[in-house]
């Protein structure tokens, strides 16, 4: 891919983002707003650094992410890096307990914690989830949407 193609792709991505997220500024409020809309977004900096954290500045190049960052929808699959099944959880998740907590890797150093969308009330914890592919799924909760994932 030459430089021109790369720019075209970036421009198209920016246009899509602009349409989808109305040019939202990089902020925690907007990250949460996207989650409430059922969309998991990440931030890409002009320097190529990607992060799930709506930080004020890019930890890689130091530029303001409000100026050099843009939102991108993350809908590609991720791999389970590790996990556990929590039997003593917070009251906010009591209806889901026991639940599996995952650490997911999307590549490019991008990792998140998420909840596996599966019921473990009547089955033993699975011992073979590491390395399996999942897709992010937004789980609706009374106190706000959270990041979940389902096996693919």
């Amino acid at each position: 891919m030459d430089g021109g193609d790369k720019m075209d792709k970036m421009d198209k991505l920016k246009k899509i983002n602009k349409d989808m997220f109305e040019n939202d500024e990089v902020s925690l409020q907007n990250y949460q707003k996207h989650l409430e809309k059922g969309i998991f977004t990440i931030i890409e900096c002009e320097c190529g650094f990607k992060t799930t954290l709506p930080l004020p500045t890019c930890p890689n190049c130091g530029k303001s992410l409000k100026e050099s960052g843009h939102w991108a929808m993350m809908d590609k699959p991720a791999k389970i890096v590790s996990y556990c099944v929590t039997y003593v959880g917070p009251p906010e998740l009591s209806d889901l307990t026991p639940y599996a907590s995952l650490i997911l890797d999307f590549g490019d150093g991008l990792r998140i914690s998420a909840l596996l969308d599966e019921d473990f009330k009547k089955k033993a914890p699975p011992d073979d989830l590491i390395g399996k592919d999942v897709r992010v799924k937004i789980i609706k909760r009374l106190y706000g949407n959270i990041l979940g994932a389902h096996l693919i």
Partner: protein, 429 residues
């Protein structure tokens, strides 16, 4: 690592620093707090004054380490509160919070003040009251050491995060979950056994004896029964987890020339190196889940600073107190400290390598697992144990003989902060 990195993480000590006194209260927990933050601090400090011969008027700086007092007791401004209760109300004071590493970071700031020449004698006091919380508050308080935006909302509790480390370790060392759980249980058995000799431990009882009290003679039957050892965050079970604790500890640091003016100098120990590094928060951002970067680079920097062989630090290190908030944390620690090869760390406790008489006795106090884990106090309590070890004051069953160097390893949260300190008896000039 570059020289600049080592200088930042484990700076050279230009003034010799002695631990002139170090003591802790008994760790415990109850439905209603039996002691106040002040009581615990005062009890520990009065023992340190007795050991050292120092008095309140000798202290140049007070550092208070406390992690959860603001949330649990509604008590902020802890430096002034504790300074007043100790009769230290005119000198500078500060409170330090770096989650479970608060005590060690407080200690390190004390070293910093001595090195800078701003103080000759620094009192570091850890005090923590965690009793009386309901389970939900407890979880919130402990989760405060993690990422409240990215981890807590998706149910990542602290046992859960260390269980996630455990699963990654099992995968790396190619053991199944059942075998992995059994290997972790050997750590719990060892640390409870050590704590059974420690009168200040919260659980000074062997797991074998707890099982017998429940009418079960076979400890493995007890540990493998989900009714007596229920899953908390699978694969971690109840006996893999450190308890909620109240406790206090105090350490009096002195520059060598100042220490020599006190009677207690004959029972002082010397700090050889102090190293601190920062890791990942949230923990999921770490590229590896089988090692804590901060602990590894703190250990590596400390070893390089004092000329230890990073491939064989056990040539010189004779005893260690490491951060075992969960059994999986001890596995991480002995790998990050380069005590064992990574593919051997899970097996060390079963082989007896970390037991008394093994290659390196680890957590002779019982560790956080059985001694208890009052969060802001833990780092100082580890130093208390190592001082007793170096001075030959431990109960005979857990006294390590002919100690050269004694190592302390303390972690904040899931590895966001790590401190490694190494001590010896003072060198004779």
């Amino acid at each position: 690592m570059t020289k600049i990195e080592i200088d930042r993480i484990a700076p050279p000590l230009k003034r010799k620093v002695y631990v002139l006194g170090a003591e802790q209260t008994k760790f415990s927990v109850s439905k209603r707090p039996k002691n106040t933050l002040r009581d615990l601090a005062s009890e520990a400090v009065s023992e340190v004054y007795k050991q050292s011969g120092a008095k309140a008027e000798d202290v140049d700086l007070l550092i208070v380490s406390n992690a959860v007092g603001f949330i649990v007791r509604g008590q902020g401004h802890m430096n002034a509160l504790i300074a007043n209760s100790l009769g230290l109300d005119s000198i500078p004071s500060v409170r330090v919070e770096t989650a479970c590493a608060s005590g060690s970071v407080g200690f390190r700031l004390g070293v910093n003040a001595i090195e800078a020449g701003w103080a000759d004698n620094v009192l570091i006091v850890g005090t923590e009251v965690m009793s009386g919380m309901d389970r939900n508050t407890t979880q919130k308080v402990i989760s405060g050491g993690g990422d409240s935006l990215l981890e807590s909302p998706v149910g990542a509790t602290f046992p859960g995060l260390y269980a996630t480390y455990a699963m990654a370790i099992f995968e790396e060392q190619k053991v199944g979950v059942k075998e992995g759980q059994q290997l972790l249980s050997y750590i719990a058995l060892k640390n409870h056994k050590n704590a059974s000799y420690n009168p200040k431990a919260q659980f000074n009882v062997k797991i074998e004896d707890i099982a017998k009290q429940k009418g079960i003679d076979d400890v493995w039957e007890f540990l493998n029964n989900p009714k007596t050892n229920p899953p908390i965050a699978w694969p971690l079970r109840l006996f893999d987890c450190s308890p909620i604790s109240d406790g206090g500890a105090a350490v009096l640091l002195s520059a060598k020339d100042s220490a020599e003016t006190f009677e207690g100098v004959k029972n002082a120990i010397e700090l050889k190196v102090t190293a601190q590094a920062t890791g990942y928060l949230p923990m999921g951002n770490a590229p590896k889940l089988t090692s804590l970067k901060a602990a590894d680079i703190a250990a590596t920097s400390a070893y390089k600073r004092i000329g230890l062989d990073i491939n064989d630090p056990l040539k010189r290190i004779s005893v260690a107190e490491v951060h075992d908030c969960f059994t999986s944390a001890e596995v991480l620690a002995i790998g990050d400290l380069h005590f064992f090869k990574r593919n051997e760390t899970l097996f060390a406790a079963k082989r007896g390598d970390t037991d008394m008489g093994g290659k390196i006795p680890v957590n002779t106090s019982g560790g956080l697992k059985a001694k208890g884990h009052p969060i802001g106090v833990t780092g100082l309590s580890q130093i208390v144990t190592l001082r007793h070890q170096l001075l030959g004051e431990m109960p005979k069953e857990v006294q390590v003989k002919d100690i050269d160097l004694a190592l302390q390893h303390n972690v904040g949260g899931t590895g966001g902060t790590a401190v490694v300190n190494i001590f010896s008896l003072p060198e004779v000039d």
